[in-house]
Every structure is written in structure tokens, then in C-alpha cells.
């Protein structure tokens, strides 16, 4: 391949490095600079960063789980409670029923897949809008969690299980390694395989995808099953990390996961939901929250930061246009204006 380096090479480099394409990195640099100057002693401490990496693992996995259905054009509002249900179910199996760890993990993973199948069935077969279907599922899951836990924490998870949650090699926790491994797998599936291409095609235009031979039913089922499995893994990890299961924990992951997924979609891939943009967004948001907390901001600040970021991210995605370049929307508009006469005169 003889790549000739010409103006288009420069243009491409500018596009890759432009604010529109990697805004999160620029935002991160600003956040880092501000807090490194204002509160260097705490913000720059290595433990701050190590806990930051580890603390965001659950949000990260949840957000990665979420982008799979989002890429297929399906909302999953049950995602928070799916994590909560996974956490509670594995603790319930381990503690209340004394199931062995491998069996409990396997059964919980299957339960995650089952939730995905139920959501898929409601959306594809019963034809309920994904927004409503998953809202309904999330309420059912809330009932399930309260039902098996009686609304109480389940304590006394086996030590060997809880130890894994806090274990690390050389300072990098197992949890973080799992996040990275899952990110790598999902990235590969979404962006490098035919299946991933079909997921994006379905999300891009379900009717056109169907007419190109894509089995959109299978794609939607598959995306929700994968999402359910990942959410269950996140849930199992929560229980391992806390050493117990808390019935109220699920919903708190919903907004951060959506924020990261949407902010992530504005990164790298020009409006497409993607894994690395999402992971980056999780950590940029977390760094911002951390800096604010360390500077003594009030406790409600993280919610403000997450909510505002979600709104800004979606607002940006709206104006970004399909190719990810800022001017693309205007270019399309111009093109359409030019082609109007010939388009509309067809049935004169």
C-alpha cells in the first residue's frame, strides 16, 4: 500500500486530533491542569489515581454493556437494576443457599442472559418500544431484588469470593483487569467483526439494514443478551467488592452509564457508540468529580457534574452529524438544497 502523504493526510490528522473528535481528552487535560495547580498534594497523589481507576470499574462495565443495545438502536433503561439484580442474586445464591462459587457465577450469568432475552422478546415480538419495555423490566427487577432480599442487605459473602473483589497484581486490581478485558472483547466484536457491523447497521437504519439482508431480530436479541450478560458480570463484581449485596445499589449506575455512553459516542468514531470513547468518558467524568470532591465541593456536586455532562454530551452529538465532522450537517443541508428541484420535480 503506497499511502501518498498529501493534503488529505494533514486534513485527516487534524480531524483525528480536533476538539470534536477527542474533546474528552482536551477536557481531561483542563480538569487535570486546574486541579493539579489548585490541590496538587491530594490530586496528584498516586493513591488518588489508583483508587480512581478501581472505583470506576463497575460504572465502566455497565456503560460498555449499555452501548451494545444503544449501537443497535435500542434503549435499555433497565441497565442499572440489571446490575443490582446480578449483585443481589449472586449473594442470595452464595449466602442464603450455600451454592458453590462457580455454580453461583454460572447461574447468575444465565440469569443476565435471560433478562436480555425477555427484553428482546418484549421489544421484537410484542413490539413494545424499547424505552417502555425496559422501563417495565426495570420495575420487575426492582421487585425481584426486594423479593429475594426482603429489602435488606445480604451479608456474609464467602471470604474467597470477597477477596477477589479487592485483590490485585502489583497495584492493578483484578476488577480493573476485568474491565479492560471486557472492553477489549466488546471493542473487537463491535468494530472488527461482521456481527458488530450488523449491530451498527441496525442502529443506523433498521429498515435499510433489513433490506440489505441483516437479520435485525437476531441483532436486537443478541445485543440485549450481551448487555444482560455484562450487566450480570458487573453485578457479581459489585458483590465481591463490597463483600455484601445492597438492594438499593442498582439505580445509581443508570445515569453515569448513559452519560459515559453518550459522551463516548462523540469521541473517536464521529457519533457512533464505541467502547474506548465510553471508557475514556467514564474516567474523565470520574476525574472531574474526584477533583471537585478533593477541593471540598458539597456532596451533591457529583450528580450535578454527571447530569450536566449527559446533557452537554447529547447536545453535542445532536449537532455533530453523521461523519463526525462539525460541518457535515451543514454540508448535507447544502447538498439537499441543491438537489431539491430534481428530487421534487419527479411527479410534475
Amino acid at each position: 500500500m503506497s499511502e501518498h502523504v498529501d493534503r488529505s493526510g494533514w486534513a485527516r490528522a487534524r480531524r483525528y486530533l480536533g476538539f470534536r473528535n477527542i474533546s474528552a481528552i482536551y477536557i481531561f487535560v483542563v480538569i487535570f491542569a486546574v486541579f493539579a495547580i489548585r490541590i496538587p498534594s491530594t490530586f496528584l497523589a498516586s493513591t488518588t489515581w489508583r483508587t480512581l481507576l478501581d472505583n470506576q470499574v463497575i460504572t465502566g462495565i455497565t456503560a460498555i454493556a449499555l452501548i451494545i443495545p444503544l449501537a443497535a438502536g435500542v434503549f435499555n433503561l433497565a441497565i442499572g437494576l440489571q446490575v443490582g439484580a446480578g449483585s443481589m442474586f449472586v449473594a442470595w445464591l452464595l449466602v442464603s443457599h450455600g451454592v458453590s462459587i462457580p455454580a453461583a457465577l454460572a447461574v447468575t450469568a444465565l440469569s443476565g442472559i435471560l433478562i436480555g432475552l425477555i427484553s428482546g422478546w418484549l421489544i421484537v415480538k410484542v413490539r413494545i418500544d424499547s424505552f417502555i419495555a425496559t422501563l417495565g423490566v426495570s420495575s420487575l427487577l426492582a421487585a425481584f431484588i426486594t423479593g429475594i432480599s426482603g429489602g435488606e442487605q445480604i451479608l456474609g459473602v464467602p471470604d474467597s469470593y470477597a477477596n477477589f473483589g479487592v485483590g490485585n497484581f502489583g497495584g492493578i486490581t483484578y476488577s480493573f483487569v476485568i474491565l479492560m478485558a471486557l472492553a477489549l472483547i466488546v471493542w473487537y466484536l463491535l468494530e472488527r467483526t461482521p456481527s458488530g457491523r450488523r449491530v451498527y447497521a441496525t442502529g443506523g437504519n433498521i429498515e435499510a439494514a433489513r433490506l440489505a439482508g441483516v437479520n435485525t431480530t437476531k441483532v436486537i436479541f443478541g445485543s440485549l443478551v450481551a448487555c444482560g450478560l455484562l450487566a450480570a458480570i458487573a453485578g457479581m463484581l459489585v458483590t465481591a467488592r463490597l463483600g455484601n449485596a445492597d438492594p438499593t445499589i442498582g439505580p445509581s449506575y443508570l445515569v453515569p452509564a448513559f452519560t459515559a455512553a453518550f459522551l463516548g459516542s462523540t469521541q473517536f468514531r464521529g457519533g457512533r457508540f464505541n467502547v474506548w470513547g465510553t471508557v475514556l468518558s467514564v474516567y474523565v467524568l470520574a476525574a472531574g468529580v474526584k477533583g471537585l470532591q478533593l477541593s471540598g465541593a458539597p456532596v451533591w456536586i457529583p450528580d450535578v457534574f454527571n447530569g450536566a455532562s449527559l446533557l452537554v454530551a447529547v447536545g453535542m452529538a445532536k449537532y455533530q452529524g453523521p461523519s463526525g465532522d462539525y460541518y457535515s450537517i451543514r454540508r448535507i443541508l447544502r447538498m439537499r438544497v441543491r438537489s431539491v428541484p430534481s428530487l421534487e420535480d419527479g411527479d410534475g
Partner: protein, 505 residues
């Protein structure tokens, strides 16, 4: 002649490469029902859009009694388009009320009783009698049209207004047409002017006080009642356009039957049979609502069918499954590119390879990026997409002609045995049109069976070996060889026996 409610003079309008309107004059008097007729591409739509102020005329004037009209502010002109613009989930009362300005009353409770009375009175003006409290979606098509007219007429203070109706009867059946016509006559007798655009010539003869015929952007006939009949209208509309010898489509002798369709039926199609042979290009045409819009989609499985069998090379294709149709060797280029033909947010390359990704797989089951790029470049180059090597560009950023070439290339890559195309050159510039025609001819020459649905008679005549004309869901005539000329096609399309009342029950 002082009572012209609408006086359009010497209107010309040119689009790049096409003179859509050439010195067109049109006058509507009080109490007059004027029919505007002409075939696809005759300039009717453009004229209506100029009257409505959607397009700015290049030269000429449009005047109403209020004086010369400014762009976008044509007081006294009311347009009712085919889709009517009603909200089906609201009642007649509510739809009529939507058109009124509210001012400070906007947050006060609706005066339900007064609104009902008002709506009833309006409807009764047109001799109609249906429950105004019922959802518009539950009304018959004629009743809906009457609601739209009533809404347009609501608040007319004077009668010096003009009502323009664009194909109001396309969705109506027998008795319904009569109801609508009665309403239209009432509006006219109250002193308004009516312009009605229609393809149904029997209705034109029945209703119109005067008829204006457009062809190729020019007025070719302007006759008062009594000086026209069905036959003379057909002659005027069809003219002798483009009847020179055909060149492109004569090459090659068609081979064995590749596409066989037996008794296919859908909401718009009734029992259509057809065969397309290897190397043959068969056209399908008809008026709006004739079923020609659905035929290709029904064969491919894009549109749900009620009955019928489709075979490719003698093997049955599962109905309603595009995936199976593709496996059987079919390709489908739908007329609405942005909705059905492509995924606008994906790149040209991704659109191109979507129907068949298996051949691009690497050892790990991944898509081999360099193989994909090379293959995309090759196909985009083959169909002449400009700029070249732009496979990574977002589909939406290409021009209409290039987008269409990408969609065609997507199917060519599959070496289709059967290619179905709908309006293949719609919204495409003249140069791209020629190269797309050339491409289609080459596909057929390569042994594929090609079916082209189009309302562009010129396109069908240049491209096809044989053209089927649909009317009310059935094939009513087939033109081929020397018989296949533009005027013959237009004649066959508009001159199909009007059968009000028969059929759709």
C-alpha cells in the same frame, strides 16, 4: 374578464438542465372549476409550487385580486395536498380548531359546544353529514378530504379565494368521488375558484368547466367545457413526445426465465404475474396508487404480501424475507434511498459490503480492513463514484447520483441474478442519469434479469425491452418493440379504463 381570482402570466422556471415551466399562463375566475392535467414531468407540480410560493419563478407574475403577490405570502390561495395534512388521532372538531389563531384564549378551556357547532356548520356547507366528534382516522377518505377543505375554507371572509386540490381523488372510490365533487361544486358556486389536479380523465370531463393541459413545461391546450373529451385529452397529454427510434434496449436476445412471479397480491397489488428473462430489462409503470410503487418491494419481500409465489431460476423464494431473497440472488434498489436504500450514517464502504461480509473475513472471524477497502474501492470505481477512493466517507455526504451508484454497486458486488430497481434515477442529475442507465444495461447484458419500476416514461423507453402498465393493482397492458414509445406509454397509463365503484371493495 375582470373577475380573475388568480392570474398567473408567462411563468418560466428552469432547474439545472431542465426547463420545468416555459411561459405558462393560467387564469382562474370566480365560480370556475379548472382542471390542470399533464403527465409526470409535465410541470404540474412545479407550477403548483410556484403558485404556493415554494419555488420562486424565474420570470412572470402571479396576481390575485389583492394585487401582485409576494413570495411566500399568497393570500387568497389555499392548497390541499394529497396527504391532506390532517392529524388522524384528533377529531374533525379538533382538526378544524387547530387552524385558528388563539391569541390570549390559548390557555382558556376550549369552548367545546361552540366548536362542535362551528365544525358541524362547516361540514354541512358541503352537503356532508358525519359525526364531527369522531377521530379523523375513522372517517372515509372523501370525508377526510372534506374536513381538509372545510379547514382551508374556515375563516374565509370573502369568497374571492382559490382552492387548489392536488389529486384529491387518488384515494377515493366510486360513491366517495361523487360526495367530494358535490362539495367542490358547492365551493365553486359560492364564488370561489377551484384548481383541481387529476390523472383521472373521466372525472376531469365530468367536473371541469375548463381544462388546461401541460406537456414538457408548456401549456398545450386550454379549453372550455364542451370543447374537450376524454380522447382529445389523451392526445394532448401524450403528444408525440420522444417517438424517435430506440437504441439502447434492442441489443441481445433474452435467455431463459430468471425471475418468475405468480399471482402476487398485496394491499395495492392484485394477482400480478410476470416473467423476466436473463438479459432482459422489464419496466413497470402506472399512476400513483396503481400498485407500481409496491411491485418491486413485494417481489423482494420488503413489502408484506398476501399471496403469490416468487421464483429465481425456478427455485422458490420465501416470501417476506429480504435475507432469503438476497441468498436467492436478488438485489433491490428502493426509491427512497435515505429511508430504505442505505444507512446514511455509515460510510460508503460499510454500506457497500453489508449484504455480504462473509467473504471479507480474516482468520479470527474479523473483517479484514485492507481487503474491505480494496474491494470497496474497486466497486465504487466500477460504477464511477466520484470522488474516487472515498469509501470511508459517510454515505450522506455523497451527491444523489453518487449515492444511487453506491446502492447499485452494493448489489452488483453480489453478482445478482435478479435486480429490482425503483425510480433508479430519481433525484439524480442528467450526467449521472446517463451513466446509471448505462450501468443497468450492462448488468442485463451480463445475464441478469432486471425489473425497473419508474414513472419516467423517457427512462422506460430508453432502457426497457418491455414495459408493463399497472392499473388498480393489475397489469392492464404490455408494450414492447415498435409499440414501446413514450406517447404510447403515457396513453396506456392515463387511458386505462376508469372504473369508479368497481374493484376495491
Amino acid at each position: 374578464m375582470t373577475s380573475a381570482l388568480l392570474d398567473a402570466r408567462n411563468i418560466s422556471k428552469t432547474f439545472p438542465g431542465v426547463k420545468a415551466l416555459d411561459d405558462v399562463s393560467l387564469m382562474v375566475h370566480a365560480g370556475e372549476i379548472l382542471a390542470l392535467v399533464g403527465h409526470n414531468g409535465s410541470g404540474k407540480s412545479t407550477l403548483v409550487k410556484v403558485l404556493a410560493g415554494i419555488y420562486q419563478e424565474d420570470s412572470g407574475t402571479v396576481a390575485t385580486p389583492g394585487g401582485s403577490v409576494r413570495r411566500g405570502n399568497r393570500d387568497g390561495l389555499h392548497f390541499i395536498h394529497q396527504d391532506l395534512g390532517l392529524i388522524p388521532t384528533l377529531t374533525t372538531i379538533e382538526n378544524i380548531d387547530l387552524g385558528r389563531s388563539l391569541g390570549a384564549r390559548a390557555i382558556l378551556p376550549s369552548a367545546i359546544r361552540a366548536e362542535r357547532k362551528h365544525a358541524r356548520a362547516l361540514i354541512e356547507q358541503f352537503g356532508a353529514d358525519f359525526d364531527v366528534g369522531v377521530l379523523v382516522s375513522k372517517l372515509t377518505p372523501a370525508e377526510r378530504t372534506i374536513v381538509a377543505i372545510a379547514r382551508a375554507l374556515d375563516g374565509w371572509t370573502t369568497s374571492d379565494n382559490v382552492l387548489v386540490l392536488d389529486e384529491p381523488t387518488a384515494a377515493l372510490q366510486g360513491a366517495e368521488v361523487g360526495k367530494l365533487f358535490a362539495a367542490v361544486r358547492r365551493v365553486a358556486s359560492a364564488g370561489a375558484g377551484i384548481v383541481i389536479i387529476s390523472h383521472r380523465l373521466d372525472e376531469v370531463v365530468e367536473l371541469a368547466d375548463r381544462v388546461v393541459v401541460l406537456r414538457d413545461g408548456r401549456v398545450v391546450g386550454d379549453h372550455p367545457r364542451g370543447e374537450f373529451d376524454r380522447a382529445s385529452l389523451v392526445r394532448l397529454i401524450a403528444g408525440q413526445i420522444g417517438d424517435d427510434a430506440r437504441e439502447l434496449a434492442e441489443a441481445g436476445v433474452p435467455g431463459a426465465v430468471r425471475l418468475g412471479v405468480l399471482g402476487i397480491a398485496s394491499p395495492q397489488l392484485r394477482d400480478v404475474d410476470l416473467e423476466v428473462r436473463a438479459g432482459e430489462i422489464v419496466g413497470v409503470t402506472g399512476l400513483r396508487g396503481s400498485g407500481m410503487e409496491q411491485l418491486a418491494g413485494a417481489i423482494f419481500g420488503a413489502v408484506p404480501t398476501e399471496a403469490g409465489r416468487v421464483q429465481v431460476d425456478g427455485l422458490a423464494v420465501r416470501p417476506g424475507s429480504p435475507a432469503h431473497a438476497i441468498k436467492a440472488g436478488m438485489g433491490y434498489v428502493p426509491s427512497d434511498r435515505r429511508r430504505f436504500g442505505a444507512i446514511v450514517s455509515m460510510s460508503a464502504k460499510e454500506n457497500l459490503t453489508l449484504p455480504r461480509l462473509a467473504s471479507l473475513r480474516g482468520r479470527m472471524g474479523q473483517i479484514d480492513p485492507s481487503a474491505e477497502k480494496a474491494e470497496a474501492d474497486r466497486w465504487l470505481d466500477h460504477v464511477g463514484v466520484r470522488p474516487s477512493r472515498a469509501g470511508d466517507r459517510s454515505f450522506g455526504l455523497f451527491s444523489g447520483g453518487n449515492q444511487q451508484k453506491i446502492v447499485i454497486a452494493k448489489w452488483l458486488r453480489n453478482a445478482p441474478r435478479v435486480l429490482l430497481l425503483e425510480e433508479p434515477t430519481q433525484g439524480v442529475d442528467v450526467a449521472a442519469q446517463a451513466s446509471i442507465h448505462d450501468l443497468i444495461a450492462r448488468i442485463a447484458a451480463g445475464g441478469a434479469a432486471v425489473l425497473v419500476s419508474s414513472t419516467d416514461t423517457k427512462e422506460l423507453v430508453t432502457l426497457c425491452h418491455r414495459v408493463l402498465v399497472l392499473h388498480e393493482g393489475r397489469v392492464v397492458s404490455t408494450l414492447a418493440g415498435r409499440e414501446l414509445t413514450e406517447s404510447a406509454l403515457v396513453r396506456a397509463t392515463i387511458d386505462s379504463p376508469a372504473t369508479p365503484g368497481s374493484g376495491r371493495e
